[in-house]
Symmetry: C2
Subunit: 542 residues, 2 copies
């Protein structure tokens, strides 16, 4: 027996329709790539998305075609997403921080048919266009006045392109499981792999993210998504923003401390989301210039582990509540959120920060487990580490063209490649990437814990821990440190400072100082590279 | 091209699974029907729901079978819902306030196979059981110690019944569109009609309700659902409660002012939901005894129009934020919520209350329109009334056994039978039931507006306005009033007080005082009955 409820498929266009009807005049402010601030509304974004859709149809784009975007967070990028999905095509975000070879590989693998790109990337694509022949045309996200001379195939300014049609178009009616978006993720091995979001997964994930214990977005919020649309769906904000009717501030390309601070204030932002590196720049800028955020209430931090000192600074110095979140491209991306459940009782500041360092609990719509290498469930005791596996309607079941083969276990769980503990109340803490875990005498040592501790030292700017070969223990931790400018802590000082704060057998066997630690295109520490650099390093204990 | 996301159907058991994993020890406290407070947890409710499911399977219940409940809001009622849906059967809530004939009609129409009932209703069902032969067995929601002597067919105490099995059971895997629940609604004409919820609609509706602009439920809330599970799914709370991990307080059968006050305090409730009548009793009790709620933050009021004076009292006197909501059985039930969008700018108290009197805006997942009788769209100007029509994944598409035939218009909208205005920012205000609107000289007069005004008079306990035949104007409004105890306002005083607060031509042509206004089983004013009583009333103006 079936229910007798309406057939209302979870389609992305319904989000922008809702925003345009219920929150028509809510502003979306962007620091445009051309320079000045630009203001539009949800009603206008919808109207222009309909033009995008109509223009795409006229361009000969068919349902299922992949349409690349190489763009910062702007109102135009949002219009493209809604227009592309509204015609049944698939937005495919390219990460401009990738190497040219990777970009070419990805665009070819996806067989992108058109590309929307920001002014910033015209030069890059001029150099690359011959290697990506499937892209028939390049649409530059600007107007005629700012359109550069360019050799890009079929180049046209976005504003000219959409003005070739009116907005009289009906969103294409689709099955909710239709592909809507695509984002490649550089796995641990091999080529990048494509994650393919559906209309359903993006809508459900957006609804999940609106909840108070996740992002808690309301129509009275102003949200600044610093986390890029080209990286894991900007943590749902291009969907959950309009869904909730929150006002939006889009940062464009300038993510330095001064620019972000200006945006927070100019835009009267109440909630924002980004990776720790961005917050580091903001905090340094505010400290150096004796500034405070005046409207900001909440900051969502994820993408890599948020250091305790950062939580402390935001909360204690600036009165901004921190929510640490974890996720990944394969999870749309939110997987957990640092909700403070009542189970923890009354927490003093220190205990609260200890809790907030954890990546948080799975909201409704995400199931988690930790297992050992044999796939057996491990206890949720807050101590035992295991491979973190997840299930849910917005979690990948496979990669595009089945690269990497079967990625789910027998119970349908996806192996995140992270190693984590989960405490009795469900708060998960990432201890490592599975491949970065240090195996010392058969036991696992979490590199992230040691790194977090090390960056808490006042003279340390950045820290990374890798396992280095050891004759007796197999592997032992080596701590690699970038010192803060003008500071010169030495090995003994760092080790003495760490002493007693972690288990004895977790203490690094050595400390080295470097000028720079290598990062991936998405801002994470490149441990593989670092392990290469120190492959022949001889520990003093060895 | 399809997305590559996991197949994770939206099934109700996932809600209680989530709660039992992520919020295992969160309490569910009930004022039990037997008397004392009873405390359990989500983990325990899930464990016992699995027993219910297993026991139902053993009872021979098949997927699709309707299982009646005639019960107050208690933990056992929740267990039954999760158990019933977890085995693929359909919970069918019976409203104990219905007449026996209606109950018999409904149980027979649904062909209920089993019935779970509270101790309160054993007598009622003993009298009725011969008229509802499809019900093979009656399970009394109590334990052996409290089990009465009864002639009910196959009667057994719930605790004995579930203890015949262990909880080793796997939820039945279902299509998410499978029927999950059923609730009959007494339409305007003819017999009650069955609304059939699906797993998908209940899950999506629950997610929608969690959002900050609807109920805004978090794991730090304690929610008291006074609105009954037997009436419109207790406004999602039996789902959105566990979904968000909110602590729950269940009121059992005692809904008088003193009992509700005690619950609020004993349970440390932060948010609660009920119809205005319940709040009237609470407010009177608090006023009479000089009490204040000490933990309550938010109150959700709906089911019938919330008088402005009630909003004012909660907000100004008690510092409790009021959210006025509108919905109906056919909408799962939430259709709108009194979110205060920033479009309204800075509001002083009076302006805020004026806004809060409106039933609010549609959240993501509900689409609205107002039309004239010809089905043409009317403007959202806050003045033009029209028939309110809605669309969404948790809105009915038909009634059980297709009673009432086609209920959607050509665009798939359901006609709610309400008449409303919608303002330019999307806030809807119910002005009447379509059948209660007063047609004066071809123009519509909203009875609800006049009623709201009248109950604002300090001596008025309740007010109803109906149209009475008039030779010149066709119909004119008659105001029917129940005076507050010990007060004796007269006609002239009431009319003088209303003067200038509504349009002149809306002023009632007469006022009559009665001891009681008839109510429906769901607590609404029974206008049809009232019109019957005053069918031959001669207006002084006639
Ligand atoms: N907040 C409200 N204000 C006015 N009428 C309401 C409100 N909420 C519900 N109703 C009425 O109750 C009807 C639904 O009744 P029911 O299906 O029994 O819940 C709606 O169609 C409205 O007429």
């Amino acid at each position: 027996m079936l229910g007798l409820m309406q057939d209302w498929p979870l389609l992305i266009h319904r989000i922008i329709d809702h925003a345009a009807i219920q929150h028509a005049n809510r502003e979306v402010i962007t620091r445009s790539i051309e320079g000045p601030f630009h203001t539009t509304t949800y009603a206008d974004i919808r109207a222009r998305s309909l033009k995008v859709a109509k223009r795409l149809a006229k361009e000969g784009v068919n349902p299922g075609d992949r349409i690349a975007t190489l763009a910062w967070n702007t109102w135009r990028h949002m219009e493209v997403w809604y227009g592309v999905t509204g015609v049944g095509a698939v937005y495919h975000t390219l990460n401009p921080r990738l190497f040219e070879d990777q970009l070419a590989y990805i665009a070819n693998h996806a067989e992108d048919r058109l590309m929307f790109l920001d002014l910033t990337f015209v030069g890059l694509m001029e150099a690359l266009q011959d290697r990506i022949p499937t892209v028939r045309r390049f649409i530059v996200l600007t107007d005629a006045a700012h359109m550069p001379q360019t050799s890009l195939r079929g180049a046209i300014a976005y504003e000219d392109w959409i003005n070739e049609v009116d907005g009289d178009f009906a969103w294409v009616r689709l099955d909710e499981n239709t592909a809507a978006g695509m984002c490649y993720t550089s796995g641990t091995t091999g080529n990048p792999k494509g994650v393919v979001y559906s209309h359903r997964s993006n809508v459900l994930h957006g609804m999940m993210c609106m909840a108070p214990d996740v992002l808690g977005l309301s129509s009275r919020d102003t949200v600044l998504p610093i986390v890029p649309m080209f990286h894991a769906n900007s943590w749902s904000l291009a969907f959950s923003g309009p869904m909730s009717g929150a006002r939006m501030v889009m940062p464009g390309m300038k993510l330095d401390g001064a620019s972000v601070y200006e945006l927070l204030e100019h835009g009267k932002v109440t909630i924002t989301a980004a990776v720790p590196t961005v917050w580091l720049m903001l905090l340094q800028h505010m400290e150096a210039n004796d500034l405070r955020p005046t409207t900001l209430e909440r900051v969502v931090i994820g993408g890599s582990a948020c250091p305790r000192s950062m939580i402390e600074t935001f909360e204690s110095r600036y009165g901004v509540s921190v929510r640490h979140a974890w996720g990944m491209t394969e999870m749309s991306p939110i997987g957990s959120s640092g909700m403070v459940k009542p189970d923890y009782g009354e927490l003093d500041r220190e205990a609260l920060f200890d809790l907030k360092v954890k990546q948080g609990a799975a909201p409704f719509g995400v199931e988690m487990k930790i297992t050992n290498d044999a796939g057996e469930d491990l206890p949720w005791d807050g101590k035992t580490f295991g491979r973190l596996k997840t299930r849910g309607p917005a979690v990948a079941s496979a990669y595009f063209r089945n690269e990497g083969g079967e990625i789910l276990d027998a119970d349908g769980y996806f192996d995140t490649g992270d190693v984590a503990t989960i405490d009795p109340y469900g708060s998960m803490q990432i201890t490592d990437r599975a491949k970065d875990v240090i195996k010392s005498g058969g036991e696992w040592i979490s590199s992230i814990d040691i790194e977090n501790l090390a960056v808490g030292h006042p003279d340390v700017a950045e820290a990374a821990v890798i396992g280095v070969a050891h004759p007796k223990w197999d592997e032992r931790p080596l701590l690699v440190i970038v010192r803060k400018e003008g500071r010169a802590p030495d090995r003994a000082e760092i080790l003495a400072w760490m002493e007693g704060k972690i288990a004895k057998w977790w203490m690094p066997d050595d400390v080295v100082f470097v000028d720079e630690i290598p990062h991936t295109a998405t801002g994470k520490i490149q441990k593989m590279e670092l392990r290469g650099q120190f492959a022949n390093y001889r520990l003093p204990t060895a």
